[in-house]
């Protein structure tokens, strides 16, 4: 079969793996004599073939966005002039001259016979009739011409046959057209019609019927005396013919040599999420996704196999419909999402691939009548947890122990009550899809609206998508995807990063603000601010007197064209343009501490434009039937441009202006603007070779040139190779029926991380903010030195994997082991500061990620009660191999206002990346203890006791690791590891009659959390509120405790006391759905109505005492700061009701 599929797919045969004998043999290429064509296609075979082709085509079209329709027809006219030519050569000639090709059985059709033929622009059918006469029946379908013996010769054999009929349906009771129904051991068979019905004449000795259909488990049924056999086909757990999208193409799952996780649309829309990335959580092995906080519209941290960088981004590359860096559409519009994990899969993306690649394929229409779907859901949300805090009286009592003159305001306020509310989400989506032979379309509009669980927080999003594909000519296919979205985030200030002592986020304030104060002071008018300590606003003020709005407009157009140059050879081009406009406005009113008496307003915007052009050729061919080749090669060019500007002013005439009248402020803030741009050019290619479906080989490479790279390293080359062995296709396993699939894979490659910010390699002066005589003057200062040798980070990765399928693929297991070593890591290498420059980014350093991944999926129960499971688990070990000068790198990650905290995280060779660094807490000093001296350390009963572990120096002044009887900075050590031992997702789908139930569990194990929240609340050194843990503080009468006394003379200090087990197991989603009966719906001409109720995050098993173990303070975009918690917006638990309607 010479059908070529656009996206690099190899299809040289239509195969239904589970029905090896008759069907595989049936398919053959017309003119090749070495095909075994022993089974004779009688009339019913021909029909089968035809229908098979149609259904197969449709099947693949749905996935690969091919337009199945064709303009070829029986009326195509050809000219021929041949004398004394064998029929074979005539047919050959026709194949050459036209797009037609022939299917026939050589034993039935005599192609040796010599004929004379002279035709001038005659319809093909006439020409063939002239050759064959009535002997042969000619059926033209698409470009295939099927030749069979005419009915006349077949009727005799059918004389004694009995007839059997039936209907084939899927698990939902929908009829399946195109199912092949074959008599076992015979060549007779048929296919089901559009209503799933079939009729088959049986020869006397027929015993067993075999039903098979692509993507389902084939079934054998004993005929006995039945005349009606109805059957339900079950979807194969992992269809071997499932098509997986890979970079610049697609590949059959069975031909895959790399490590790729695929997540389908149903899983992405299992519950309402603010984005596709969130929906991916727990669905793909080796992909760890953590909410940085629960802020509506907040960001997520995505790590594929651990993340390969330290100072550069470890975020994966997103590719949307072939557009690198495209905007991620909302989950409802996504058909599938593929995560490319190993180098074999990712190397085609070269210098941007080292953190994995996430390919997103949007939904397309398929041929047929318009399908209209409406999906809607409503969720009610509340905070997942609260922290038990002291009440006003308890707080007052405690505070007086340190500040005897403290006078309580005498009120009782539970500040968590003041900030939390019932939140909610509503989603609506309407989509229409369909198509004709020439055009297919998918259009969708959706609306997502979230009211956050903290007062004042909100997020909403409007999106419109349209995907149109057409066959412009018989060789040219055109696709256009237009996507537009507006999202609005109504923010409250939650994340406190570098804010000073007078700034507090709403959650931080709700925890630490004095509970003995109210919203207002005694006068009932003036807002209460902190009576002592850092002068922060109370939470009510933070919510109501601050504005922080972000409006994000995204627009993307993606144009693709595919031109079929010759058989097997096609050229594809993609042009993508996207712009993102982000506008942020902030206002702190004159009633806040920060904006005291003046109001601070600002507005800033950011405009990001990406343009990418991808152009590549794909060629697929097969030699001698067993050598399959696929070649792909291309060129791409992309550019991006980021424009930003900012303005602000203070001292507004009135708070009513908010940030909409900056001219109304009497003091103008320093305006800012900036432009960053870059370009990249790439050449890439892939070679696939497969031998006999047993041995598969893939070689991929990319050659990237980037403007960001330094002068001496403008171009980078990234190769990878992979081997796979389909052991199942070996003779010795062919007949082992328990094993339906067994494939071994190994790959090795080098991929990169661009990591270098634009202009980073250039020597620069910078403008310096300088005041002379009270006026801003033009000033410059040296800023950076030239670096002609800076280059990308490279990751060498080996992956060994295996795919198992058992019992007709009812049970599937994929296992992978990988090891990645990232070298040339970018580090700000310290320069001698006396040079005037502090650091220079250099390629020094190595880290390693290695781990296991396991994905198990199965159909446990398949009868009336069905139970499918999907389980994935991954472990990743990430450690530092080499640092600049082999010296530890210490860094700070605490919120800015906790000024006494210094460096609390460390990079040390041989240790996990981002280990927590601090003192070892040994409880509380008791009266009579020997107090260890040390500046800033307590030496009193009830004070904190830390362990002296180091400080003694040898003759050369080098630390010996022995105690010196003194507490100081030398006594810090690694006290925790933020990285999990393993993380997992477990999905259960059950269905019974019209009901379905899905239970999704997700979790991590073995990671530790450094809680700055609890550190702040339980140090008991500042006049702020504490958790109820403080009730157990040391007092002269309560000495048996490890909570120190309340004092005014204690600095916050990172220690083992604040390291907690962050393991958790979470019931992420549970859904109960009901499908209204078809018969009932048909009366209203409705295809489908599904109602469901679901709940998210309702159960979390964890030992972590903070709000939520799924937390990642400062995690946005960072690899260094994992496992931190500070007063983050907590995740919500929700209850959802939803409705899906299909027309």
């Amino acid at each position: 079969m010479r059908e070529h599929f656009s996206s690099g797919l190899w299809i040289t045969e239509i195969s239904c793996e589970n029905n090896q004998q008759p069907i595989i043999n049936l398919i053959y290429k017309s003119m090749k004599k070495n095909y075994d064509c022993s089974s004779l296609p009688d009339f019913s075979w021909q029909k089968l073939l035809l229908t098979m082709k149609i259904s197969t085509l449709l099947f693949f079209c749905g996935i690969t966005n091919l337009i199945a329709g064709t303009t070829y027809s029986q009326n195509t006219k050809i000219s021929l002039n041949m004398k004394d030519a064998s029929i074979e050569s005539v047919l050959n000639k026709i194949e050459e001259e036209s797009e037609f090709y022939f299917l026939f059985n050589q034993k039935l059709i005599d192609v040796e016979r010599k004929v004379d033929i002279a035709a001038h622009k005659e319809p093909i059918k006439n020409v063939l009739h002239e050759i064959f006469g009535d002997e042969v029946k000619i059926v033209v379908y698409d470009r295939q011409i099927i030749l069979t013996k005419s009915d006349k010769s077949a009727t005799a054999a059918a004389m004694q046959q009995q007839t059997i009929t039936g209907k084939v349906t899927d698990e939902k009771g929908e009829p399946i057209p195109g199912v092949s129904v074959i008599i076992k051991g015979k060549t007779n068979g048929t296919v089901t019609d559009v209503n799933g019905n079939y009729t088959l004449e049986l020869p006397a000795d027929a015993k067993i019927l075999v039903f098979s259909y692509i993507g389902t488990i084939s079934q054998e049924v004993v005929i006995a005396s039945q005349t009606i056999i109805n059957i339900t086909l079950i979807e194969a757990a992992v269809g071997l013919n499932e098509v997986i999208v890979v970079g610049y193409g697609t590949v059959r799952k069975s031909d895959l040599t790399g490590s790729v996780s695929s997540v389908k649309s149903a899983q992405l829309v299992a519950f309402p999420t603010s984005g596709a990335v969130q929906a991916l959580q727990g669905r793909a092995a080796g992909v760890q996704i953590t909410a940085n906080n629960g802020d509506p519209g907040g960001s997520l941290n995505v790590r594929v196999r651990g993340g390969t960088s330290i100072n550069a981004s470890s975020d994966p590359l997103y590719v949307v419909d072939g557009f690198i860096g495209g905007i991620i559409p909302q989950p409802e519009d996504i058909e599938s999402l593929e995560v490319l994990k190993d180098a074999s899969a990712t190397a085609i993306y070269g210098s941007r691939a080292s953190n994995g690649v996430i390919l997103i394929t949007t939904k397309k229409g398929s041929k047929g009548k318009a399908v209209i779907e409406y999906n809607s859901s409503y969720s009610s949300q509340s905070e997942i947890n609260r922290i038990d805090m002291l009440n006003g009286a308890q707080y007052t009592e405690m505070t007086k122990e340190a500040f005897p003159l403290y006078v309580s305001a005498g009120q009782e306020t539970d500040w968590q009550d003041e900030i939390f509310r019932k939140g909610g989400i509503q989603t609506h989506q309407l989509s229409i899809s369909g198509g004709t032979d020439l055009v297919n379309y998918y259009m969708s509009g959706s609306f997502f609206d979230q009211k956050g669980i903290i007062l004042g927080s909100s997020f909403n999003r409007y999106s419109v998508t349209s995907n149109i594909n057409m066959n412009a000519t018989e060789r040219l296919k055109i696709g256009v995807n237009i996507f537009g979205q507006r999202s609005t985030t109504g923010g409250v200030n939650t994340q406190e990063i570098s804010g000073g002592a007078n700034e507090a986020g709403v959650v931080g304030s709700a925890l630490r603000f004095m509970p003995d104060q109210g919203i207002y002071k005694a006068d009932g008018i003036t807002y209460a601010t902190a009576a002592m300590g850092d002068p922060i606003d109370n939470p009510y003020v933070i919510i109501n007197e601050n504005t922080n709005n972000t409006v994000n407009d995204r627009l993307q157009g993606n144009f693709s064209a595919e031109y079929n140059l010759a058989k097997g050879l096609s050229f594809r081009t993609i042009l993508g343009v996207s712009t993102t406009n982000i506008r942020n406005g902030r206002y702190a009113s004159s009633l806040t501490v920060a904006g005291k008496d003046k109001g601070i307003s600002s507005i800033g915007a950011n405009k990001n434009t990406n343009v990418a052009s991808e152009n590549y050729l794909t060629y697929n061919t097969t030699f001698a039937t067993v050598h399959k080749f696929g070649l792909m090669g291309g060129y791409s060019h992309s550019s991006y441009r980021n424009e930003s500007w900012f303005a602000g002013s203070n001292t507004q005439i009135t708070d009513a202006f908010s940030y909409w009248n900056l001219g109304g402020g009497s003091i103008t803030a320093i305006p800012a603007s900036g432009l960053v741009e870059g370009q990249q050019t790439s050449f890439f290619g892939r070679l696939n070779y497969g031998y006999s479906d047993k041995y598969l080989f893939t070689f991929t490479s990319r050659y990237d040139g980037s403007s960001n790279f330094s002068k001496n390293h403008k171009w980078a080359f990234f190769p990878s190779g992979a081997l796979a062995w389909n052991m199942k296709n070996e003779g010795f396993l062919k007949d082992v029926s328990a094993i339906s699939q067994l494939k071994w894979r190994v790959s090795y490659g080098v991929v990169g991380n661009q990591a270098i910010a634009p202009f980073q390699t250039l020597a620069r002066l910078t403008n310096a903010y300088s005041i002379v005589n009270g006026l801003v003057v033009n000033a410059v200062r040296p800023f950076s030195v030239v670096n002609d040798d800076l280059k990308w980070e490279s990751t060498a990765q080996i992956d060994v994997g295996a795919d198992f399928g058992f019992f007709n693929n009812r049970l599937n297991l994929t296992a992978d082991y990988y090891k990645m070593i990232t070298s040339d890591l970018l580090f700000p290498v310290p320069l001698p500061n006396y040079s005037g420059y502090q650091t220079q980014t250099k390629n020094i350093g190595k880290i390693e990620n290695k781990g296991f991944e396991l994905t198990l999926s199965g159909k446990i129960l398949t009868r009336e009660l069905k139970w499918n499971i999907d389980f994935n688990i991954a472990s990743n070990r990430k450690k530092v191999l080499e640092l600049p000068g082999h010296k530890d790198i210490l860094y700070k990650s605490s919120p800015g206002h906790l000024v006494s905290l210094g460096n609390s995280q460390i990079l040390r060779e041989g240790e996990p990346v981002g280990s927590f660094y601090g003192y070892i807490y040994d409880g509380v000093y008791q009266t009579g203890d020997t107090f260890l001296p040390g500046s800033g350390f307590e030496q009193v009963a009830g004070g904190e006791k830390y362990r002296d572990i180091n400080g003694k120096k040898d003759a050369n002044g080098v630390l010996t690791g022995e105690p010196d009887g003194l507490l100081n900075a030398d006594d810090q050590t690694i006290v925790g590891n933020p990285l999990p031992k393993f993380f997992y997702g477990f999905n259960n789908e059950l269905s019974w009659k019209d009901f379905d139930l899905s239970i999704f569990i997700q979790g991590t194990q073995g990671n530790e959390i450094l809680s700055y929240t609890l550190l702040e609340l339980e140090t008991l050194g500042k006049p702020i509120n504490s958790t109820t843990n403080a009730l157990d503080r040391w007092t002269p009468t309560n000495t048996n405790t490890n909570v120190p006394k309340k004092t005014a003379a204690r600095s916050e200090r990172v220690s083992s006391r604040w390291i907690y087990d962050g393991s958790y197991m979470r019931l992420k989603n549970i859904v109960l759905g009901y499908n209204m009966p078809k018969q009932f719906l048909q009366k209203f001409k409705i295809q489908k109505v599904r109602l469901y109720v679901s709940a998210q995050n309702i159960l979390t098993i964890t030992k972590y005492p903070g709000f939520d173990p799924e937390v990642n303070y400062r995690g946005a975009g960072s690899t260094l700061n994992q496992g931190l918690d500070y007063a983050s917006y907590p995740n919500a638990k929700s209850f959802t009701v939803g409705l899906n309607i299909g027309l």
């Binding site: 320093i670 900036g674 432009l675 005589n773 001698p832 204690r1050």
Partner: protein, 503 residues
């Protein structure tokens, strides 16, 4: 064949059209909005911009915005820690428990060298223009003053220094240098200041006191010589300033309080050199000053105080109750509440100089203060001290102190009786001690005291003596007069070793 050729051509055309439209392989960077050092210096205006980089770099949170001043103040016997839950780095500086990883030390070292790199860059740029001396030397002088000013501070804090007086294009090239001896650093400082004195104008444009003039250079020369105990030269330079005060536009401000009122201080003729900050604005630690908040009580009513730098009660008591400067220097009452009833970390009078009148910003951060590093009163006291050392007290010397005292008697227009004029006939030591005490009171909380303790070797007396205002039993004169070189610097360049004694 023809047909095939045609097919090929069409196909090729299609490819070229489709890919060629968007193809391009130019990968050079063209950073609009950023400055390339090559070819930046074209005119004097560019040099001026490079010189102004010095002003910006000094007005940084690491230096005169907070860290440096905090370090010097906590180190002396005038200011103690008020809030012992504050940053450990601060507590360690105050308690003489500093080690080479102390963040404040690091900040000071690093940022002063940023200032120096600005100066070196400006000087190199100025020289590259090839203009006549008279044209360009005033700008070079301004740059060299900035360099001398920075090294003068650094050398007193760290002792021997890595000394760089040229623009560094490749930091690797200076990675193995060793430290220059203190004495040689001083020689270079003096050379720079002499050059500055020669070429700087008598007055800067708009009589700016945040740019150096001839008088500024001379004043710092006086201070340098005083530090070096070269009292004759200290006297000569101070005398030069005093004699030319009209030319330079120097005079004592009539009301001591006005020196610490951001609304009035910035135009006073008493200021010889100050670091310029503009209220409300900041840019990533540039133009970011927090001395008001560092010294005020927490919470500073309706403002933000951190309670960090708070004198001991003895310091407060060491001021004469009749001294107007005591009222100006301390706050004892906030919003009608006397300090003994404060619910603050430190129930002690707090420093008022920087928090009472911060100008435009009521928050206490990003105030309008210009932080004076040299004022005319100090020049008078330098002259007096130098005379005391050179010849013993005389009327000239007494006269200088009396000028300062007379001004102190002016309590917002009401002439008081305290402090009285210096009694005549004091012996040399008594007079010198009187001048030092006058400096302690007059320049209180202006980060001068620590250097006085150091240059006069007073540590044991003021921290361990019977009359210590702020006792620190662990003060170690062999160690604590210098801070350690930051560990990170020694790590990068071991040739900077050995580390200062005791660290």
């Amino acid at each position: 064949m023809k047909k095939i050729m045609k097919k090929i051509i069409i196909n090729l055309l299609a490819i070229v059209l489709m890919s060629g439209l968007w193809g391009c392989t130019k990968l050079d960077e063209n950073p609009v909005g950023l400055l390339d050092p090559d070819g930046f210096f074209k005119t004097k205006k560019d040099v001026q911009a490079a010189v102004y980089g010095i002003n910006g770099a000094l007005a940084h949170e690491s230096l005169f915005g907070r860290a440096y001043l905090t370090t010097l103040m906590l180190r002396d016997d005038m200011s103690d820690i008020g809030n012992r839950s504050t940053a450990l780095d601060r507590i360690n500086v105050n308690d003489f428990a500093v080690n080479s990883t102390n963040g404040l030390i690091n900040q000071i070292w690093t940022q002063f060298y940023v200032v120096i790199s600005c100066a070196n860059n400006a000087e190199a740029g100025a020289k590259s223009l090839g203009l006549a001396d008279s044209e360009i030397n005033p700008l070079i002088a301004e740059a060299r003053f900035g360099r001398a000013f920075s090294y003068f501070h650094l050398v007193r804090v760290f002792g021997d220094l890595s000394y760089i007086d040229f623009a560094v294009a490749d930091p690797e090239s200076v990675k193995t240098i060793s430290r220059t001896k203190e004495a040689d650093v001083y020689k270079s400082i003096i050379a720079d200041l002499e050059f500055a004195k020669q070429w700087l104008p008598d007055k800067q444009t708009s009589d700016s006191r945040t740019r150096p003039s001839k008088g500024t250079a001379a004043s710092y020369l006086a201070s340098v010589y005083l530090t070096l105990k070269d009292y004759p030269k200290a006297y000569t330079e101070a005398k030069y300033v005093i004699d030319n005060k009209a030319l330079f536009g120097y005079e004592l401000a009539p009301d001591y309080q006005n020196l610490y009122n951001a609304a009035t201080a910035n135009v006073l003729k008493e200021t010889i050199y100050a670091i310029d900050f503009l209220g409300v604005q900041n840019q990533f630690s540039y133009n970011d000053d927090l001395m008001a908040t560092m010294t005020a009580a927490q919470p500073w009513f309706n403002k933000s105080g951190f309670d960090v730098i708070v004198p001991s009660l003895k310091v407060y008591e060491s001021f004469n109750t009749l001294d107007y400067r005591k009222k100006v220097s301390f706050d004892t009452v906030y919003a009608g509440v006397y300090y003994t009833n404060w619910v603050a970390f430190a129930k002690r009078p707090h420093i008022a100089k920087w928090s009472r009148f911060p100008g435009n910003n009521t928050n206490g951060r990003y105030t309008d203060h210009n932080y004076p590093d040299m004022r005319y009163a100090e020049v008078l006291l330098i002259a007096a001290e130098a005379i005391g050392e050179n010849t013993g007290s005389n009327t000239e010397a007494e006269g200088y102190v009396n000028q300062v005292r007379a001004r102190a008697r002016n309590a917002a227009g009401v002439m008081g009786t305290y402090p009285a004029d210096v009694p005549g006939g004091l012996d040399k030591t008594s007079f010198i001690n009187l001048v030092l005490e006058e400096r302690r009171i007059e320049l209180a909380f202006e980060w001068k005291r620590w250097f006085d303790i150091k240059r006069r070797n007073l540590g044991d007396a003021v921290f361990k003596g019977a009359n210590s205002l702020e006792p620190h039993a662990n003060f170690d004169a062999s160690r604590d007069y210098l801070f350690p070189i930051p560990k990170t610097e020694l790590d990068v360049n071991p040739n900077l070793g050995p580390q200062n004694t005791g660290y």
